[in-house]
Amino acid sequence: MDPVIWFFALGIVAGALRSDLKLPPAIYDLLSMLLLLAIGLKGGVELARNPFDGLLVQVILVVAMGLVLPLLIFPAARTLGRLSRANAASVAAHYGSVSVATFAVGISYLGGRSIAYDSQLPLFLVLLEIPAIVVGILLARGLKEKTRWGRLAHEMFLGKSIVLLLGGLVIGWLAGPAGIVPLEPLFFDLFKGVLALFLLEMGLIAATEFRTLRQNALFLLAFGLLAPLPLAAIGALLGWSIGLNPGGTTLLAVLAGSGSYIAAPAAMRIAVPAANPSLPLAMSLGVTFPFNIFVGIPLYLAFAEWLHRL
């Protein structure tokens, strides 16, 4: 098993035992910046190496998936989970959007088995972050005029993760495989180590969030464990049908099957304050994230390889 995952487990254990271990917020920020930039740069370099055609169609289909996923999740959360409209919409936004950390573990997993993935995947990561949040807000509020879309667009499009991923993509593309060499020691060689530290902190946070899963606990647990599978299947099928390779198909499944915990919480907190913020966080961080990194990713790879053997 990929050793970075043990760091997540260490964090969970330390958090569950209420250790005083805690990464300073500034370090959490540094680590997440490094991961976002590294993913972007890597994608950009790959884009420079293998330019490809037909990107536009892929982009449209991927964004469409981002718009559709929350529409599938919302009714399930509303009826099966008996969540309020605001809460169901918030869950839809979180699960329709994507988790950068899960994506990073996916990259690390594929890297460990030397499985290549298509260079446009980091771009898809960027593309999938926002649409589901917009749909989630619309599901919660309808088209009321009161929503300050300008403010929200600013929050979403100029949020840290989009800026760093997109900035990294462009810089990696401009620099190309040769130009990036001097930056490799920090962004590529340290990638796994940085991911390990980041997962340690994620484990500590997940342990805390998990504790807040009290009301509706059974539904939330079930949803957090079962939702990734159909969502990831949709992602894998889309990836396979737009011609991604097995690695790329796996990563699109990872994106579809993971829940956001950076962009979505911030945006939903501002746009739909009535939604309970810890509910989707507890699910996505406390249940789905561990499920995905321990069980989901290998499963999605197996599924992607099976699809490609068809």
């Binding site: 500590l204 915990y261 907190r269 501002i270």
Partner: protein, 100 residues
């Protein structure tokens, strides 16, 4: 210049609304504000600043009575129901009353 009475309004709330709130304070007539990072516990549980979604800020505004009242009204209307937040007010003397 004799010191003069003003109100000190202190707000402790979720850091996610810092930008919106500070904009609102200026719009409501505050001549300035001071923000520090904080953690804490209250009716909405422990907020221990481990990461951004779970951290507090503490905002102070020195202002005159009408502005203080407007701030309290605004927060009650827009934030009290849905956000971890407390607000308290006290009397202070300032040195350059024209500033506030």
């Amino acid at each position: 210049m004799a010191p003069e009475q003003r109100k000190l309004v202190t707000i402790v709330t979720e850091s996610v609304i810092e930008i919106d709130l500070c904009e609102a304070l200026t719009d409501l007539g505050a001549s300035g504000y001071t923000v520090t990072n904080a953690r804490g516990s209250g009716s909405r549980g422990i907020r221990n600043a481990g990461w951004s979604s779970n951290s507090n800020i503490r905002i102070e505004v020195v202002c005159d009575e009408p502005v203080a009242t407007r701030i309290a009204e605004h927060l009650r209307e827009h934030y009290y129901a849905d956000f971890a937040m407390i607000l308290f007010e006290s009397d202070v003397r300032v040195l350059r009353p024209d500033k506030f």
